[in-house]
Subunit: 228 residues, 2 copies
DNA sequence: GCAAAAGTGTTCCAGATACACCCATGA
DNA sequence: TCATGGGTGTATCTGGAACACTTTTGC
C-alpha cells in the first residue's frame, strides 16, 4: 500500500477489544510486523484510507490482522479520538478508538485473514510494554468500561445471555480489578435496575441451584457530575 | 484555499471558548459565511491544513475568525475528538475539539483578524440553533467543564487572580446552571482543597469586606468511578 | 455428611442536604 | 439606620462499606 492512500495529518483507527478469559479482563493485542515499534505489542490498528470511514477501517484491520470480525463483537456506541503531536514518532497524528466487547472469541479463523500478527488476548493486569501511546488508550478504554458498567448493559456483551449473580460479580470484579462484597454487590446491582431475572434456574453442580438473570434491553447512559 | 491543502478524511478543529459574562456561562460563536450551514451560528472551526497541527489550526481560526488569540485563553490540557459519518453533510469527518477558558475577552481587535464572522459570546442557556453537531460538542464540553471544576483549578481561568467566595460561587452556579447553598458550597469547596486564602481583604462597597482566595497551582485530575 | 455455591440483614460512617441568623462596612 | 454582601453550625438523610451464617443441591 503506498502512502498516498492515506490521510495527512495521519488519521488512524485502533481497536480495544475486551473479553473475559478465566475471570480476567483481557485485551486483544498484536505483535507489530513493521517499523516503527517493530516487534512491540500494540492494539490492532491501521491508517484510515481515503475511501473508508473509521468503522470500515476497523472491520478491515480486525479481520486482516487478527482474524476477528466486528460481527462477532459488540461495539460501544461512540468512537473516541486521541490527538497529540507526540503520539506518533512520524509526526502529528489523530487516532479514532473503538471499544469492542466479545465473548469466547478466538483470534484467527476468519477466511479473509492475511497478514496476521500473532493476535493474542492479554490479561489487563499483565500487559507487555505497548507501542505508541497505546497504554494510555487502554487505560482510557478501561475507565470508560468501568463507567458504562454502572449505568448501562454493556457488561452483558461479556457474558452469556443468562448468567448467575456470581458470574456477574466475577465480571465486575474483573473490570474493576478488585473483589467486591457479595451482599453489597447484589444490593447495588439490583438497585441499578440493569438486570432482571429470567425465571430460569441453573442447576450445574453439587450445590444449590441459582436464579438466572439477564440484562435489560434499554439503558440510560447518563453520567454523574458533582453539584448535581 | 484549494481543497488539496486539506486532509482526507476531513479533519477539522473546533474551539469551545467559555467565559463568564454577567454571571452567566457563555460560549463564543460565529455566524457562518459559507455553505454548508450558511448564516447558521457555529463554533469557530476550520479544516486542519496539511502542514499544521490541530493546535496551530486552532490559533489560526480563532485569530482570523474571531480576533482572539489562544494567548488570551487558558486551554484545557487535552483535546478531544469526535468522529461520525453523519457529522458533516459533505461526508465522513473527524473534528478535534479544544476547550478554552477566558476572562474579559472581547471578540475582534487582533491585528491579524480578517474574515471575521460576527463573533459573539452567547449565554449557554440561550444558544441559537447550531451548525453541524456543534450542539453536541458544546454539551460535551460543558459536561467536561463541570467534571473538571470539582477536581482541578480550571475555574481559576474564568476568574480574576484573587476572588471572594461569592464570586467563586457565582462561577460554579453558572457552570452547573443551578443555585447552590452558600454554607454547603463553602464547606465543599474548602474540603476539595483547590483554593487557598491570599491573606488579602477586598473592600469594595457598602458591606463587610471579604477574604480573598486564589486557586492552588497543582491539582490532581483523577475522576471517580463507581465501585472504587 | 460434606463440599460448594446460593442467598440473605443490620450496623456504621461519611458525605450531602436543608436551613436562618448575626457581622462589618459605606452611604 | 439601613442596605449590602460576608460569614457561620447543626440536624437529618442517604448511600457505601463492613461483616457471618443458613440453604439447597450432588456426590
Amino acid at each position: 500500500m503506498s502512502d498516498e492512500n492515506f490521510a495527512f495529518p495521519i488519521l488512524t483507527v485502533d481497536a480495544v477489544v475486551f473479553q473475559l478469559v478465566n475471570n480476567k479482563l483481557t485485551v486483544l493485542l498484536i505483535e507489530r510486523a513493521f517499523e516503527p515499534f517493530l516487534g512491540r505489542w500494540a492494539l490492532p490498528g491501521e491508517y484510515i484510507p481515503k475511501d473508508k470511514s473509521s468503522h470500515q477501517a476497523l472491520e478491515h484491520v480486525l479481520v486482516h490482522k487478527t482474524g476477528i470480525s466486528t460481527k462477532q463483537l459488540e461495539l460501544i456506541e461512540q468512537p473516541y479520538a486521541f490527538d497529540s503531536p507526540e503520539r506518533d514518532p512520524r509526526g502529528y497524528a489523530v487516532t479514532v478508538m473503538y471499544i469492542s466487547l466479545g465473548r469466547n472469541i478466538t483470534p484467527g479463523g476468519h477466511k479473509d485473514m492475511d497478514n496476521a500478527q500473532n493476535p493474542q488476548f492479554f490479561p489487563i493486569t499483565e500487559l507487555p510494554e505497548l507501542a505508541y501511546d497505546h497504554a494510555n488508550i487502554v487505560t482510557f478504554a478501561r475507565n470508560r468500561l468501568k463507567t458504562l458498567s454502572t449505568s448501562t448493559n454493556v457488561v452483558g456483551a461479556l457474558l452469556p445471555g443468562a448468567f448467575t449473580f456470581l458470574q456477574l460479580q466475577d465480571a465486575y470484579e474483573a473490570i474493576f480489578g478488585k473483589s467486591l462484597d457479595k451482599r453489597n454487590f447484589r444490593k447495588k446491582m439490583l438497585s441499578l435496575n440493569l438486570i432482571e431475572p429470567t425465571g430460569d434456574i441453573a442447576k450445574d453442580g453439587a450445590h444449590r441451584p441459582a436464579q438466572l438473570y439477564t440484562f435489560r434491553k434499554v439503558q440510560s447512559k447518563n453520567l454523574d457530575q458533582s453539584f448535581d
